[in-house]
Amino acid sequence: MSTPPPPDRAAVLAFLRKQEWGDLRLELLRFAMPRCKSRELAEDLVQDAIIKVMTGDSSFDPSQHPSVARYMMGAIKFALADERKSARARKTVALSRGRSDDDDVREGDHLQATNAFSEDVAVKVDLFTRRITELRGRLARDAVALALLDLTIAGVDTPAERAAATGYTFEAIEAARRRMQHHAAAVAREISGDDPLDADDERRAEQAERGDQAEQEGEVA
């Protein structure tokens, strides 16, 4: 994948000036809160995301990312994943340093807990694997949405990268994204576990799908 040219500084600044930063902060906080252990962490991540975009210390380019809000929400997800990785690393170091003779007595309990954890992981892996398989089946006749699912699995998330990889327009990718969400909501209901997409998403996805049906033909750029 080729690296896009650096963004036009003046164009980026003009784009940023047009944003409603008060509302944006609220939207980012709403996105971050359920994903963070504390309000402080959510506020920090939101603040960092805004500062990086506003100071030019990020790859944000409106020609590659039409929505700055979505871009920053993505940045918050990445930052949170880093935060979790660091926390896990700290925990591992602390556990290895804090080990004593008494720990051997608890070894049996520990093994039991580990087995339970492994079973839990196996159940989750099975659940999500079945969901993805079912989703793939539902998208079998929708080439754009299927390509989008493959790109999501491959970790290709930006609209520009997705458009470049498939040859479809931003609009076609957006429409396919909504169709994929609609089917994902149905799959989550069908193969139940935790956290299916909520009813509002479902409703919107259905509306979107009705509007998108006409777009499915001739959407190759």
Binding site: G22, D23, K77, R131, G155, D198, R204
Partner: protein, 156 residues
């Protein structure tokens, strides 16, 4: 650009759900957004004001930085143009004359410490004749630039 990392089924599902949640949040009306933020324990008016204040502060800082960068860039372009328009020296100077000319430049009050630092960093007395030629050319260009800056300052 980040290098894409292949997702597990769970990560893929989470990505799809996060994507849907982004859409849901971005489709909320102001009233709905405020209500959800209140439920999270925030005061929407305060947070909205913080967002606007932070953005204004950062945009002002970026404006200032851009002006400085534009000014520095213009100065650099002018210096490069001056260097490019300098006539090429006719014939080579003997090493003794090169060293004497560099010594005069290093004592030129318009150049200050810049000249000595440039000379030292490029090898000083250990430099070859060719390198001394280059050093002298750069010092002369610096002297021209200093003169041009002085002219500009006087015009202002």
């Amino acid at each position: 650009m980040t290098t894409p990392k292949k997702r597990t089924p769970a990560e893929t599902w989470e990505a799809i759900e996060d994507d849907a949640e982004m859409d849901r949040i971005l489709a909320l009306s102001k009233e709905e957004l405020d209500a959800e933020l209140r439920a999270d324990g925030f005061d929407p008016a305060v947070e909205r004001a913080r967002g606007v204040a932070l953005a204004n502060e950062l945009l002002a800082a970026r404006d200032g930085r851009n002006k400085w960068q534009d000014g520095a860039s213009a100065k650099l372009d002018a210096a490069r143009a001056r260097l490019a328009s300098r006539p090429t020296r006719r014939g080579k100077l003997p090493r003794v004359e090169l060293l004497a000319a560099i010594d005069r430049a290093c004592n030129d009050p318009r150049l200050g410490v810049r000249a000595s630092v440039l000379y030292r960093n490029r090898g000083g007395g250990e430099a070859t004749d060719e390198q001394l030629e280059e050093i002298l050319a750069q010092l002369e260009a610096l002297a021209d630039q200093a003169a041009a800056e002085k002219d500009d300052a006087e015009k202002k």
